[in-house]
Amino acid sequence: TQLLEQSPQFLSIQEGENLTVYCNSSSVFSSLQWYRQEPGEGPVLLVTVVTGGEVKKLKRLTFQFGDARKDSSLHITAAQPGDTGLYLCAGDSGGYNKLIFGAGTRLAVHP
């Protein structure tokens, strides 16, 4: 069974701090996606990484896919209250867009 483990489960920080969340697996994924989910809403795609070692930046968010395509990280610089939410990583193992989600990291950024 393929699993994605995310850490930490919870993160509570002050506005302006930096943070990194991790997504790890023993399985190889053809692509990996990061989503953000807010209460009462469905997840919204932030980024897709497909190449081992790939780094993508989205404003203050930096995403990295591990060289072996088994793990990924999300780094947020100077976090803002608007970054608050549940961050989910999801791996596509079979190439048919069948996603396996991690349990998520719940981030709270306080003013």
């Binding site: 053809s30 996606q33 809403e41 469905g42 795609l45 048919y96 867009n97 069948k98 349990a103 998520g104």
Partner: protein
């Protein structure tokens, strides 16, 4: 562009009752997914449709859950009879096609509480 629509948004039922959820995907999206998200967990794929055919239903508890996508557009997910452990948010998503790394667009979900 309208997003994925789901109804109802909330449903409370007693165990052993039946319930149905409805999903209208984004126009033109061939692939439709139903996920179950239990509190504190990530979404788990229940079933994936490509047009009106089932691509994957390996994690659908077929003794109580059923889903259909007539005419390759709207879809319904039914639970009969419901159990306490079915309490969760049921998310519908759609994508343009089922290929690798395609973006999935999620609806707001239906929160089911089974008493």
């Amino acid at each position: 562009e309208a997003g994925v629509a789901q109804s109802p948004r909330y449903k409370i039922i007693e165990k052993r009752q039946s319930v149905a959820f409805w999903c209208n995907p984004i126009s033109g999206h061939a692939t439709l997914y139903w996920y179950q998200q239990i509190l504190g967990q990530g979404p788990k794929l229940l079933i994936q449709f490509q047009n009106n055919g089932v691509v994957d239903d390996s994690q659908l508890p077929k003794d109580r859950f059923s889903a259909e996508r007539l005419k390759g557009v709207d879809s319904t997910l039914k639970i009969q009879p419901a159990k306490l452990e079915d309490s969760a948010v049921y998310l519908c998503a759609s994508s343009l096609r089922g290929g690798s790394a395609g973006e999935q667009f999620f609806g707001p979900g239906t929160r089911l509480t089974v008493l």
